[in-house]
Symmetry: none
Subunit: 232 residues, 4 copies
DNA sequence: TATGAATGAGAGTTCATTCAT
DNA sequence: AATGAATGAACTCTCATTCAT
């Protein structure tokens, strides 16, 4: 079984080699214009070989997303499991985690957000679809856990923590995509970090409990109806 | 000149006919799987005719987005120009406007958000690219104006209103896309409205001035640094 | 019938207008890349109208050739029929005639030579095919007549005058086409005239009767100026 | 490296297979009417495969011409380099060489002459364009060398040998194209050989030095048989 | 007679995928 | 396991031609 294991390791390494090549190619050419031939060349392999490791082009592309989702999960895991953090510090850590994920590879993150809301997702093999779904939902659960502990710790109003996690995720993805839009429109690089800080601050303040804790916001005289626990 | 006008009208009607057909086809088949042949058939035209009205497939698709952007602009225009609205009411009207846009055609809206952050955008003809850019930026300006008047009216902290508009737009787009993700993952229709209400409430509360007005949030003891006017 | 005639004249004028436009377009774009749409635009007509005057694209193109053939015929006719010319002067006139035809429109002449040796010719309507055939053969006959009178006048050896005419025509067409080749290869304009003079001189000398007349091969009393080393 | 070589050989063989098929197809259907699909079928390959060997349709067609140019070059090379030939014999060998080229494949030769004076030539890839240019010019150089040695050997007047080569080439190409014209007009096969003999005789006589050698214009001691009245 | 929008067959070309080696 | 030549379906797009007005 030592042999078995080594083979398994080598197989995984080759997969990663292809993924890395694919990433480079699509950064250069964009997703649609990148061909399997291009990727094979970049990976110094033949086109046929790619199909030994990935069922088809869509699955290769989706695997890029999978990789960044895995990274996201690990980072979130750390934030949730790290001991001795005050709830407010945990929020800070959450922000840093997603920013790291963004920096890890913005293009792939954009690709993930596209994939997650496109027909392509539905046409993947059930296994890969499940992987993406599970990792996505697990990430959301972790973020949910963070917000739940914030609520339980008295930091936030008693919003539905699941919905808070979704809002948080939506805000993040929307900002990343808009960042790209601005790059295209203005041909002008922009740094997400400051805006992300600000957005996060507003968001936390928006959900903070009045008169208490670091994200306090009060007293409630909201002209807009906010039901903290909308029925799903 | 009556003839000229009639021709112009007929041309525009034909364009719309094609756009409507394209919309139907890509709703059925998804963007990538829809062929020009399909669209021609749906529009009861020949493939060649499509090219009399749209330069190529990408431009036809982008024109769908253009249409919803135009609708968005008109709606935002009304919100900005409607007289006799209190700032808080204007915010409410803003929310309703974007929700109407969402309901106008969710799929096309998703398509717009994809387009705005994809390489396809860069390969459009300069004219179409400019149209999309201008409408997008003009929409942002209108939202900016709303937030600015909110700030000037003492409702909100003195954040940079441009950045607030971008955050607002990001949150909206992120939620729309995540809505689609959930639909795919859970095969379960979900209604954006409630979550949008909640998100909007949180956002307004997050940027509201303390002790004052309907979006008050206070006192400030924020553990997370929030610079209301980040340098761009 | 005055009306009939006027109509006929107008029809012919419109045909010429189209032919002129076609000539301009194909000079700009080359034969294959020129479209009927292009020609219609250049002629300030609609595409449909072209088909009222020409059966199809091939026939329009062939009509250009027809026009230059007609011009050639008229010029040759003059040479043949002009009275009071010595045979040697007639040869000189022949040379000038074809050079004028060349200058009339080199591109169309090239097109004629292509057409005359291509499948397109065979697919023309019988009428147009006959027109081209007749004009071509009539031109050849005129040249034949010139050589025949040269032979009868004792200038030339008793070659078959028909074959001489064909050789003459071949030499001319070959030179015109090679001229174009050189232009493409060397991107360098070249003036056919000198070479044509030289070629004509050699040809006449090659067929001249010895010891007699202006084209006698030897001793050298060449009536036609032959510069053995034209400056390139 | 043995493998490398074998691959290279196989690749070349496949190229030739396609060229041969293309030749057959366009002989049957004419150049314009022949489709890539037709050629693929004739070669018993798939359409896609053609594009592994030729960049596009024009380049495939131009490659046919390239092949005949290569053959021409080899033949001319032999004529120039063959030792122990008297200048007059070399002229005879030149005539035989080009006649062989003609017989090798008249249709492709016609195609070459069309190509060499058409816009298509200018739109080839630089490599292929250069190949054709180089082979053409090298052929001309070889012919030039032959005429130069004829001049130096006292056979010919001191014409510019380069221009003589061009005239010779023009005469040849013009005759080949006119031959095709006659075939089309008269639906009657004609044999170029006799006319070519005659033309060559006239040409040599036209440039021959008087009173001397085998091409002396007079008195008649022509080394090259010239039948003044070839039977049609 | 003139229009010009519409046609639609068909072209060249691409490229994800396969499979004999 | 790796290759890479070959596949061939499917695509977008062109443009000569038609015909209702």
């Amino acid at each position: 079984m030592g042999i078995q294991e080594r083979k398994e390791r080598e197989r995984e390494r080759r997969r990663q080699q292809i993924i890395v090549a694919a990433k480079r190619v699509f950064s250069k050419k964009g997703f649609n214009r990148a061909t399997m031939e291009d990727i094979a060349q970049e990976a110094e392999l033949s086109p046929g070989t790619l199909y030994l490791y990935f069922k088809n082009k869509d699955e290769l592309y989706a695997s890029l997303s999978l990789r960044i989702l895995q990274y996201l999960n690990i980072r979130l895991d750390h934030v949730v499991k790290e001991e001795g953090l005050a709830p407010a510090e945990r929020m800070q850590a959450l922000k840093e985690a997603i920013y790291d994920v963004y920096q890890f590879d913005p293009l792939i993150l954009i690709n993930l957000f596209h994939l997650q809301s496109s027909e392509t997702l539905e046409n993947l093999s059930p296994e890969l679809f499940d992987d993406i779904q599970n990792l996505t939902l697990r990430s959301l659960e972790r973020i949910t856990a963070l917000f739940r502990s914030g609520i339980e710790g008295g930091l936030f109003e008693t919003y539905n923590p699941e919905v808070l996690a979704e809002l948080f995720w939506s805000l993040f993805s929307g900002m990343v995509l808009w960042e790209e839009s601005k790059r295209i429109f203005e041909n002008d690089n922009y740094f997400l970090k400051d805006t992300l800080d600000m957005a996060f601050g507003i968001f936390l303040r928006g959900i903070g409990r009045p008169e208490e804790g670091p994200f306090a916001a009060s007293p409630h005289r909201l002209g807009v109806a906010v039901d903290p626990m909308p029925s799903k």
